[in-house]
């Protein structure tokens, strides 16, 4: 019985880590792609965009920061409730 419980817990944490890995991978891709696109476009248009480049920095920063915190909250929520609601059965 004890082994079964341990096996279930192990299975749950493995699947939680899979969810976490997926989100971290997508967030990393998002940061890389947004950074690359912003850099290339602002670099080529710097003569014009240099006057208001901070607008792009502010909103890109907001997207990355809020989405990252949101994803951390999703992970925390899944971790808190995964046994209670039996997410991975």
């Amino acid at each position: 019985m004890e082994m079964t419980k341990q096996a279930i817990e192990s299975n749950y944490y493995r699947k939680l880590n899979r969810d976490t890995g997926l989100i971290i991978g997508m967030l990393a891709l998002l940061v890389g792609v947004e950074g690359f696109v912003l850099y290339r476009i602002l670099l080529e248009t710097w003569a014009i965009s240099g006057n208001f480049f901070y607008l792009y920095g502010i909103f890109a920063g907001l997207i990355i920061v809020i989405e990252s915190i949101g994803c951390l909250s999703v992970r925390k929520s899944i971790q808190n409730h995964m046994f209670e609601f039996r997410y991975y059965d």
Binding site: L22, L29, E34, I66, E84
Partner: protein, 467 residues
């Protein structure tokens, strides 16, 4: 109660279905439509519109994740407004969501028919449009799992096509024209930056609909936040990739008027595999979007019907397929009517205004939800969104700013929408203020809301799914 009405929606959906519903509806906006930002504000206007709208949608998707995982109802934004604001706001949101998705379905079906005709010139647009609408209605009638699994496959192919094209371009496999970026940077000056905002939502329009399958999810408190946030990140990645690809492969003046910008960018790359992949992606993403729209619009109509905002005849659930089949079938004549009304462009603009109205009311529902139910328990709030209510207020502010930019060029559409929804608000507020139905929060295991004796929330809560 008949057998049909006593059946309930089947609870089988998983996070990837939520992702498929949200991204499937929206990805078409990255294949076409977003590029009108370039016509207004050039490449820099497009970039700013993408980032500002992206910020708004990130915040709205977090609000939707919290509300969807808490209420677990098929009506999504409509049910949130009904529970936490009132019947007038609920009617506005319910109708707005319905109009938003049904108009998009009609437009998608026509584009599919036009693409099919360009490949096979002997085909006629009208019968193919009818066929597409009928086929997708039938798939949704048969079952939500099959419909959303199909959406997952179609959407994944379309997304992978963008990713592959982007990495090939970024790695130097495709010859690009960086000079296009400077040439089309800001053709209309600083005012163009502001004007471009009105088309920014095209990158993400409809992602809030992902939460509308919460009642059919196996574990909504996991599936909705996880699927919706994964979907939001997918769209942010897709938007940035799309903007870059089109900006360096299509001159800005042509980009602003292109019908299929990603496909045109692939054609300009002169690499046949990408031309085929992006052409296929354009076709598939239109089907996926129309399919998701049938799903979401029918759920919105079903929820309106269940609460007697429209005829309760539509609230029947199929005893075998567990789908709201009458609401699903009813999408067909309405979509066909929109498609061949001759005013589709006006209808689409109306749907964008409807969407933006929802983006004011969804965060407001979240603010009200937090005020009415401040306690955080597994039952009431299994997913606690971060930085609330500050990001809800910020999302409302951005929505109103984008809505105000529609005054340039779409003044009469805006006035018509406000009159239409104003009438709906007062009519349904009056009609449901005399309702004798009482709150039944206990039925869903929730405590009474804070200050419930004078909140004025008088609607009954029915048919709520549990984890």
């Amino acid at each position: 109660m008949s057998e049909h009405q006593s059946a309930s929606l089947v609870k089988t959906l998983r996070p990837f279905h939520v992702w498929a519903l949200g991204v499937g509806i929206v990805l078409v906006g990255e294949y076409m439509g977003w590029n009108f930002t370039a016509a207004k504000g050039g490449i820099l206007g497009s970039l700013l519109a993408m980032l500002v709208a992206g910020t708004m949608y990130v915040m709205i998707s977090l609000c939707a994740s919290e509300l969807g995982s808490a209420t677990k109802l098929a009506g999504g934004p409509y049910d949130w407004a009904r529970l936490f604001i009132g019947p007038g706001a609920a009617a506005i949101v319910g109708l707005a969501v319905y109009m938003e998705y049904i108009a998009l379905e009609a437009a998608d079906a026509i584009v599919v028919a036009v693409i099919a005709q360009s490949i096979f010139p002997e085909l006629q647009v009208f019968p193919v449009t009818l066929l597409v609408i009928a086929l997708l209605t039938f798939i949704n009638y048969r079952g939500v799992v099959a419909a959303l699994t199909l959406n997952f496959v179609l959407t994944m192919i379309a997304f992978i096509a963008i990713v592959a094209f982007f990495f090939a371009t970024a790695s130097g496999t495709v010859d690009i024209h960086p000079e296009y970026l400077f040439q089309g940077a800001l053709p209309n000056g600083m005012i163009g930056l502001f004007a471009a905002l009105q088309f920014g939502p095209w990158f993400y329009l409809g992602i809030e609909g992902a939460a509308m399958c919460a009642e059919e999810c196996k574990h909504p408190s996991r599936a909705v936040p996880l699927g919706q946030q994964a979907g939001m990140i997918t769209l942010l990645i897709g938007a940035a990739m799309t903007l870059y690809l089109c900006s360096v492969l299509i001159p800005a003046d042509l980009l602003g008027v292109s019908v299929y910008p990603l496909f045109e960018a692939a054609q300009n790359s002169k690499i046949s595999i990408f031309i085929a992949a992006l052409g296929l992606g354009t076709f598939l993403t239109c089907i996926a979007s129309a399919n998701g729209c049938v799903c979401d619009s029918s759920r919105s109509w079903f929820a309106l019907s269940r609460d007697k905002y429209v005829s309760s005849w539509f609230s029947a659930v199929h005893p075998r397929y567990n789908t709201p089949y009458r609401a699903v079938i009813f999408t067909m004549p309405v979509a066909i009517g929109f498609a061949f009304s001759g005013f589709l462009d006006q209808v689409i603009t109306f749907s964008i205004i409807s969407g933006l109205l929802c983006y004011v009311l969804i965060p407001f529902s979240l603010i009200r939800f937090r005020r009415l139910f401040p306690e955080t328990t597994s039952k009431v709030r299994p997913f606690v969104g971060p930085l609330q209510p500050y990001i809800a207020y910020f999302a409302i502010a951005i929505s109103i700013i984008i809505l105000s930019t529609l005054f340039w060029g779409y003044k009469y559409n805006l006035i018509f929408a406000f009159v239409f929804y104003g009438i709906a608000y007062f009519y349904f507020s009056h009609r449901h203020s005399s309702s004798t139905a009482e709150n039944n929060w206990a039925e869903i295991g929730w405590p009474l809301p804070k200050g419930s004796e004078n909140t004025g929330i008088e609607k009954e809560v029915i048919g709520v799914g549990n984890d």
